[in-house]
């Protein structure tokens, strides 16, 4: 990273958009690099602090890559028909191609980072992609009654040991779970489990439960690496979206 910063310094400014600006107060190795293997930080109540900028180790166009080896997506007949149609047309009708929201499973697994901010009573996910956010209420409230469902549903969170468990329901069913086209409906319930292993690494499991399109709940796995000395950038999808008009399919 030093070579890149030095090269950038030759053309001012050195920290454009704060890229490369040293994150204060993080554990570092003798050479100045962030110590990703340092112990994970905890909040005063002893729980892991998930705050930080996180980058998924892979982008997941098709979230089935996160299945355990040998497992397959348990579509029911209706779910398979929807998925096959979307694949046969190369996802030309994906709402996210028109800058509408992505489903949560793929949103957590993009090649742009997200920032988690954990404060008492609330954990916020800021997604660089499309400059969106999610709020996860951790003040003990239950999932709400919903008569106006949302693209990203409504989320509550709690701790099970050192794992942060997020329950989400109240979806409007319009989002695709990924760009490949895994379907979801308004009966979707998601359970995400985040386990920060050490300063620089976090594991994620997502269990997808939607009996309208899948014959049973299924779980995918992912991992994140902490990104230090950087900042989220803006990403306004609508500013120059040109693809949807040309997405003819096949």
């Amino acid at each position: 990273m030093i070579a890149v910063v030095a090269a950038l310094a030759a053309s001012p400014p050195a920290y454009a958009q704060w890229e490369g600006y040293p994150t204060p107060g993080i554990p570092r190795l003798p050479d100045g690099k962030p110590n990703l293997s340092a112990p994970l930080p905890r909040t005063p109540d002893g729980k892991p602090d998930l705050s930080g900028i996180w980058q998924s180790t892979r982008g997941a166009f098709n979230i089935a890559i996160g299945l355990k080896p040998g497992e397959t997506v348990p579509f029911n007949a209706k779910g398979k028909a929807i998925f096959d149609e979307r694949r046969d047309t190369n996802s030309k009708d994906d709402p996210s191609a028109r800058c509408l929201p992505t489903g949560i499973p793929v949103r957590n697994q993009l090649n742009t980072p997200m920032k988690i901010i954990q404060i008492p009573g609330l954990t916020v996910f800021l997604y660089e992609s499309r400059t969106t956010y999610r709020q996860i209420l951790t003040d003990g409230r239950p999932l709400p009654k919903v008569d106006w469902p949302a693209w990203a549903g409504f989320s509550i969170g709690r701790w099970e040991g050192d794992t942060f468990v997020v329950e989400t329901a109240g979806f409007n069913g319009k989002a695709w779970l990924d760009q490949a086209g895994h379907p979801s409906t308004s009966d979707l319930r998601l359970t995400e489990r985040f386990t920060r292993r050490d300063f620089g690494h976090m594991d994620m499991e997502i269990t997808i439960d939607d009996p309208n399109v899948y014959s049973r709940p299924w779980t995918i796995y992912g991992q994140f690496v902490l990104k230090a000395d950087t900042e989220l950038l803006e990403f306004i999808c609508e500013e120059n979206e040109r693809d949807s008009q040309f997405m003819v399919g096949k």
Binding site: A7, G59, N90, C99, Q109, T112, R242
Partner: protein
């Protein structure tokens, strides 16, 4: 003035991004572009749009028939390209460049770029989410990426 792309340092710094996930479009590449219809375009840049969800640049390409046509070239998201060393002024109007990419299915003079050979001969990857997106470098002057054709694992 040379583009402010720190490629001399970036040959080393590219390795810092090798762990990064293969570039992912905001859309399905395959619905719009045909990776079996690869084009190599040489021409002069006429316009640059450093925007989300994709950067675009336009170039006048001389065809075999001696006629010039203006092609629209789509590259990756600026957020991803920026972290790979691209800058908003990496491409300038008037730059002579070579683009290797996949043509639009609808036959328009529109392509999704895999690699771009800059005016000074250095090659940069364009952040495609299509085949070719798993390449880690491309050859100067020719633009040939070092790994293409294989379907990215996400498919």
């Amino acid at each position: 003035m040379r583009p402010s792309l720190p490629i001399a340092a970036c040959v080393a710094c590219m390795s810092l991004f090798l762990f990064a996930p293969a570039a992912q479009a905001h859309h399905s590449f395959a619905a719009e572009f045909d990776s079996t219809k690869q084009v190599t375009l040489k021409g002069k840049i006429t316009k640059v749009e450093w925007t989300n969800p994709h950067i675009y640049f336009y170039m006048d390409v001389l065809g075999a028939d001696g006629k010039s046509s203006n092609w629209a070239i789509e590259a990756g998201a600026p957020n991803v390209l920026y972290r790979q060393g691209w800058r908003p002024d990496s491409l300038k109007i008037g730059d002579q460049v070579t683009v290797i990419g996949s043509r639009a299915r609808n036959g328009m003079d529109l392509a999704n770029a895999i690699s771009v050979v800059l005016a000074d001969g250095r090659c940069v990857l364009a952040g495609t989410s299509g085949p070719g997106g798993t390449a880690t470098e491309c050859a100067p002057n020719t633009g040939a990426p070092n790994a293409q054709g294989a379907t990215a694992p996400r498919n």
